[in-house]
Symmetry: none
DNA sequence: GGCGCTCTATAGCGTCGCTATAGGTTGTAC
DNA sequence: GTACAACCTATAGCGACGCTATAGAGCGCC
């Protein structure tokens, strides 16, 4: 009998993935604090030095779990639903709901992102999510539905939606305020989007020319745009060029 | 010589407060994870059983620190500024700002609240803060300025403001988006308050900002706008100014 | 005097994150 | 065909952690 002490690299999931999976399942099923490296090693059938060989530290492992889990969640969603809605604003709403749902599906994982916040720069996962939101907002901006820059809007949406998600996670599952997420979502979006389905801004597909015309008109009507006289003249010239005059 | 082994109850701060203070200072000065019960005991000049006698557990101590710190922050604010504004809606805005500022003043403490979130019921501190927000909203409700129940409004305000605070904490201190908090605040309040005669900002008609945003996006999507690279950069700067307000 | 609260003091249990050390097995490169 | 690096096993332990047990001293109160 061959002593089955070592696992050939060809069979089963790679050791790294087994560790990842073990950590993820422990994180999901147990109360947050219970994910010890020892428990992960036992479940993965792996020795401690192996874990540290792959992930460096406990935090490195947890970061990898969160990042991997979120990416999988997004992939699964896209597979299930074929794609994003055609209306860019509906797509933004859809993105908000997906974010909140991920948090409720994996509360321990989600809470862990914010358990490790430090005044310093990181958490990489949060940055990733915010960039994802900004990407969702870009089409809306292109159709003239945004009243602020996509970066600003993304910051607001990210902050508000993660706050809602954390608040919902803290509530007991049976007594959750089901409307909370949508109420805050619509409040934030209302402040970020131009009013109404049809706006004074040009039609979506018209390109820069129409937007330039609209902006020229808006500038003429505005009382005190934050521009110096020289800047005003300069901007006007550029807008005229864009308008194709 | 009397062996100064025990401290009479009459001199110095009470033991409980010394422990609280030691934990608070450790939390503020060190990176979050460094607040061990042993370090707290050493700094407070206290034995381990005493700590557990007063606070039950490490988490109980941390809860007390956060709660006490927040109450002190509020008291200090009220002392500095004479009291809450007479207009109930202004008081709500003031409460939001106080909440966010507390988080930025004590990032480690604030982040800790959310590091301990569990799907189950707790965290006592969060409940306490939400109740505080509800109390602030009560006068506004009494004067007929709320369009939802105070409890609903408090849930929204709590979720959004804590999300904003956590987002700001994660940003590097020098590159913080100063307007983020107020933008989200006004968005949430606008959805929760009846459209009163006194609004925070005088009816922002879409104006040039929305057109500027739309044009920026259209330029990004356009293949070959009739502009030189230099003109493009210049136009972008002007458009950002118009969009940023 | 008895009782309960508060605090000291020592000592220890079980667990944790992490590392040192050593040896076995693999696929690849020279 | 052997040397090599990567990967993994296995054991064993360090220092720190949260928390508790136990015993007793000083104090205020009925």
């Amino acid at each position: 009998m061959a002593p089955r002490t070592t696992t050939p690299t060809t069979d089963g999931p790679a050791t790294r993935d087994r560790i990842l999976l073990a950590a993820a399942s422990l994180l999901d099923e147990a109360a947050g604090g219970a994910v010890s490296t020892r428990a992960v090693c036992e479940r993965a059938g792996v020795q401690a030095p192996t874990l540290y060989h792959h992930f460096g530290s406990r935090q490195g492992l947890l970061d990898a779990v969160v990042s991997h889990g979120f990416r999988e969640h997004l992939a699964a969603r896209q597979d299930r639903e074929g794609g994003t809605p055609e209306d860019p604003v509906d797509a933004v709403r859809e993105g908000w709901d997906a974010h909140v749902r991920f948090g409720l599906d994996h509360p321990e994982t989600y809470a862990m992102i914010y358990g490790a916040v430090r005044p310093g720069e990181p958490c990489g996962v949060a940055r990733e999510v915010e960039a994802m939101i900004r990407a969702t907002l870009e089409p809306a901006a292109r159709s003239g539905r945004l009243r602020v820059t996509p970066a600003q809007a993304a910051a607001e949406v990210f902050a508000a939606s993660s706050g809602v998600t954390l608040a919902l996670i803290q509530q007991p599952a049976d007594g959750r305020d089901d409307g909370l997420s949508h109420r805050v979502r619509d409040a934030v979006l209302a402040a970020v989007l131009v009013d109404g389905p049809s706006s004074p801004t040009p039609a979506p597909g018209d390109g820069p020319a129409a937007s330039a015309v609209a902006l020229t008109a808006a500038l003429d009507a505005a009382d005190d745009p934050p521009l110096s006289p020289g800047e005003r003249v300069l901007l006007r010239e550029l807008l005229d060029r864009l308008a194709g005059g």
